[in-house]
Symmetry: C2
Subunit: 153 residues, 2 copies
Amino acid sequence: MGSELEILREYIARRNMRYTPERESIVREIFARHDHFSVEDLYLALRKKRRQISRASIYRTLPLLIDAGLVAQVFQDSGQTLYEHTYGHEHHCHLRCLRCGQVVEFSEPTLRGVEERLAREMGYLVDGHKLEVLGTCPACQGQVTNPAKTPKA
Amino acid sequence: MGSELEILREYIARRNMRYTPERESIVREIFARHDHFSVEDLYLALRKKRRQISRASIYRTLPLLIDAGLVAQVFQDSGQTLYEHTYGHEHHCHLRCLRCGQVVEFSEPTLRGVEERLAREMGYLVDGHKLEVLGTCPACQGQVTNPAKTPKA
DNA sequence: CTCGATGCAAACTATTTGCAGGCAC
DNA sequence: GTGCCTGCAAATAGTTTGCATCGAG
């Protein structure tokens, strides 16, 4: 706990950037929650805690955190990009219900082998993977069948 | 060849919708190309072939084609949603370079087993999966290291 | 003191939608 | 003829960006 801030500090120091209170608050908030969040979620949560940080700063900070390995982009839902913190968590995949949006996390260790195979065969330097399994959750089964909503672009 | 039109016809007939020349042209164009395309790509390609179809119609048609199993959403690149036709092709996964955007397709049959396991353990009705492996392609390795571009929302 | 970071508001861009006319059935 | 579709243009919504100011180093 708190070592995400050290990572941030180190990342920032190594590039002669500024360690600002805004950046620190953003990271604190991201690691205080344990869900998939959008920029808007972050913005509102910070504002509720009396840390008013502009959306622009959040948009500008997230790419840094991703590059620093603290955060990952998960997927899009209804037009919003969702993120999750990754530092300190084992990598996992997502099973998602196309009707209600429910997300279940699961792990699939064999994918490490797939990454290695691709690195070897294709000469890629592999950073990671994203596996999403899509379907209908138990609760949504047996309901009228409207075309499942396509995750908005 | 051409059976994608039959699928479309059947899908449309089954729901008392209209089989319009616009919808047919869109499907023809999608199956004439073999790449990942955006709505804009389609729009321009159709227009170049003197089939002027509005973007709105393309946006309205794609969800139907996805529901009909003819097309799938692949991923986002620079803010655009990319699609590919799927009918008549084996399912495959994507290996993508975060620096130049190159995409390599590969297959990973073991994922079928993962789907089955999840269906069994979580009670989901599984429609399919999307696996994306991210990294740096051989050509982009050994270049100055700017933070890899995050696929825009 | 200097230059990178912030906030604001305006700009962009992809996508959605209301509406009037057109056409598949 | 009826109601679904289409094109157009306007409306949305998420994200980006220019600029003046602020503040970390």
